[in-house]
Amino acid sequence: MRGKVLHLVPVLFVVTCFSFLLTSLLPGDVALVMSGPNATPQSIAALRSQLQLDQPLPVRYADWLGRAVRGDLGTSPRSNVTVVQSIKDRLPISLELLVLAEVIGLLVAVPAGIASAYRAGGVLDQAASGAAFGILAVPGFVVAIVLIYLFAVQLDLVPATGYTPLLTDPLANLRSFFLPALTVGLGEAAAYTRLLRSDMIATLQEDYIAMARAKGLPTWHILTRHALKPSSFTLLTVLGINIGRLMGGALIVETIFALPGVGRLLVESIYARDLVVVQGVVAFVAVAFVLVNFGVDLLYAVLDPRIRHGRAVA
């Protein structure tokens, strides 16, 4: 355990280093773009020195890292708001989308995956596979627009875009999250169904399942108690990756549904070359990603006793 935590330090260092370097490689003169329509050579030069763009990259990185470890990711020269504040404002929205989308994903995928695996090749399996491939083949932004057209424009059940804070009106909040969560959730459900199905089919070939059957245990009991847990490793790994990814917001979905999450902050900041915000957000997302996956690693031990006790099957 302590070894794993110590491992994190170099990983986080490399991750922040890369995110800093990559964002520095964005084409376009940051000072020029940010200076806006009324730029003068003087104002551009002033902004350049304010952003330390006249300093060598390692110096900028060391300075940034020194402040970042103390929780200061800088202040956007565009809006005068600190990056930490911007992330605080927007993270709850991305997190809510993440939770709702994963809940939808799992609620659909677990039953569908189990049912598909139980009678692999059957009608239900084929229907689920067809639906899953269909959803996977259609890009998220198309799904989003189709869902808006269907649920908001034609049926008028939920708003097409926008966001109501949870504390202002919980019901309106859920209504405003319905379409974006469904868009992300459907995509996740499709992938999860396929993963769970294939792992489950393998598990169902195991001797102990045959044993359980021979003992006359009811099918649903075998499927949910004996087969599901050992079949969920791949699902858990991918879930961890997806949660880590969604910590940074669903870039396209947040933009389409006008949800003010971390993803939209990132997109807007990239277009405006607000490097301070881009670097801060990318580093935050990278760190969150590493930490979530670290958490998933720990969960393996809970699911599989072999990992808990010793290194034999590392």
Binding site: P27, G28, D29, G36, P37, N38, A46, N80, V153, I256
Partner: protein, 513 residues
């Protein structure tokens, strides 16, 4: 999409046109009877808001909200968007055009009760002039030498050099008047707690989702505003924005694309509003580098460009064909037309050039600009010109323009009101960072300086004629189409007539039930 991306381009780079404009136009009919008070309207805007501090406010979304909460010193009025009174009842330039004397409207107070007077104007302008405040309008503010309160309702602004077009800057963010009390009280947090004199009082801002403001019952324009409240919502995705209009989450869609206008015109539940501005879309050529340092190469491009086809195919005929900096009917148009489509002449120019004409054509990678690129590429190919399309994002394209690291690229001028804005920095040979093409002509320099430093309209029209003539001969750029700004609303929205530079003025908008 085209309006959006090219619009920013221009805003971001070409000229300091925060809120200027001209041309003709106006909205569709207003047959809904006498104005009615009450109700609310939600505007769907293009970009997210950063801050409501005029130091930072600078795009059409920010300015639309700002124009609800603040008033500017000078406004644009009427069908042609001419300069008219607002917080300043009148303004008088001195004969040497170095001093502008503003006479302020009396009896105006800010939402927090602070009186609006000459001291408030001095406070606001000096706030922009102080480089430590990093105003986005610093270059406008730097033109000012000093601001003095002559008496309670008179302000004298002295410029460093004579500039006939200075009043136009007071329409933009520098002219938005904030309450000095609130600015001092809120400090760095002011941008989220704006206090102005405007028709609506700031109520709430939910980050990234909306800003709401309620009726200012003591508004100084008697009888206005009509609405009880106004909400502004940024929705960056054009399709989602249109769907939100159809589903009723927003009542007005700002900055509509040609496709959306065509669709909305067939929809009985929607209304289209338009304003023909003076800006336009064009391709510009770098005259400082091969191949376009050769006039024949530039002529070949001009003659090979079929503007009619572009306007029909991409713009659905929603934007007029452009043949020069001034639209027909403009006060400044001296009827100089630039070389138009003629394939035979294009081939002749190409022959005179004497080499194969191959170059890189920079475009922004959004779907509509890409269409422009592809149609132009195909047109030029017909006469044997090979354009290699290079897609980039806006930031990169702007940098290429500033650094003159391009051969030919697509660009756009936004709406403008006085020719000095669009011509001076674009064509003056020295001291401008936005003369992208590298155009240089001593006669044009002299004409531009004359045009900036005289207020006689006859002289100005004559000197700008000289500029038009020179541009038509040297063809640093090929005009494609003039901008028309479109907004779409639900039928209950009335009197949305003033949409200069895609900025709305909600004080005169009302809603039928």
């Amino acid at each position: 999409m085209r309006k959006r991306s090219l619009g920013i381009l221009l805003t971001a780079a070409l000229l300091a046109i925060a809120a200027c404009g001209g041309g003709g136009g106006g909205g569709q009919g207003n047959a809904a009877g006498p104005p009615k008070s009450g109700g609310s309207v939600t505007f769907g805007l293009r970009a997210d808001f950063l801050s409501l501090d005029p130091l930072i406010v600078n795009n059409d979304s920010d300015l639309s909200v700002a124009n609800g909460i603040y008033d500017t010193l000078i406004a644009r009025v009427g069908d042609k968007g001419e300069l008219g009174p607002s917080l300043a009842d009148s303004w008088q330039p001195s004969s040497d055009l170095k001093t502008l004397t503003l006479t302020l409207h009396q009896g105006v107070t800010f939402h927090d009760g602070t009186p609006f007077n000459a001291d408030a104007v001095v406070f606001n302008l000096e706030r922009h002039m102080d480089p430590r405040n990093k105003s986005m309008a610093l270059s406008d503010a730097l033109l000012i030498d000093s601001v003095k309160a002559v008496d309670d309702r008179t302000v004298a602004i002295t410029l460093k050099t004579p500039w006939v077009d200075f009043p136009q800057t007071l329409v933009g963010s520098i002219g938005l008047m904030t309450s000095p009390t609130a600015v001092k009280q809120e400090g760095a947090d002011y941008g989220r707690h704006p206090v102005g004199t405007g028709p609506f009082v700031f109520k709430e801002w939910v980050t990234g989702d909306h800003i709401t403001a309620t009726k200012n019952k003591n508004y100084w324009r008697k009888g206005f505003p009509y609405l009880d409240s106004v909400t502004w919502r940024p929705i960056p995705d054009q399709d989602a924005k249109y769907a939100s209009l159809k589903a009723g989450q927003i009542d007005v869609l700002q900055v509509a694309t040609a496709d959306q206008v065509v669709r909305a015109e067939k929809d009985s539940k929607l209304k289209v509003w338009s304003y023909a501005g003076n800006g336009g879309t064009f391709v510009m050529m770098n005259m400082k580098a091969p191949p376009f340092d050769d006039l024949n190469a530039r002529l070949a491009i001009t003659y090979a460009t079929n503007r009619r086809e572009i306007v029909d195919q991409i713009g659905h005929d929603k934007y007029p064909i452009a043949t020069g900096p001034f639209p027909p009917g403009s006060t400044w148009d001296t009827k100089v037309t630039e070389p138009n489509f003629d394939e035979a002449k294009a081939r002749a120019a190409l022959q005179a050039y004497g080499k194969p004409l191959n170059f890189k054509f920079n475009i922004v990678s959004d779907p509509i600009t890409r269409q422009y690129g592809q149609v132009l590429q195909a047109q030029w190919k017909k006469v044997g010109i090979n354009a290699d399309l290079v897609q980039m994002d806006q930031a990169t394209l702007i940098q290429a323009a500033f650094g003159k690291q391009f051969q030919l690229q697509i660009f756009q001028y936004g709406d403008w009101f006085d020719p000095d804005r669009v011509l001076f920095n674009g064509y003056i040979s020295k001291g401008s960072i936005v003369n992208f093409t590298g155009f240089a002509d001593p006669a044009v320099d002299a004409a531009l300086i004359k045009g900036r430093t005289t207020s006689d309209p006859t002289v100005r029209k004559q000197v700008y004629g000289v500029v038009q003539q020179a541009i038509a001969q040297e063809v640093p750029l090929v005009w494609l189409s003039y901008n028309t700004e479109y907004m779409i609303s639900s039928t209950r929205v009335q009197n949305l007539n003033t949409i200069y530079s895609s900025i709305t003025k909600p004080y005169q908008v009302w809603a039928s039930s």
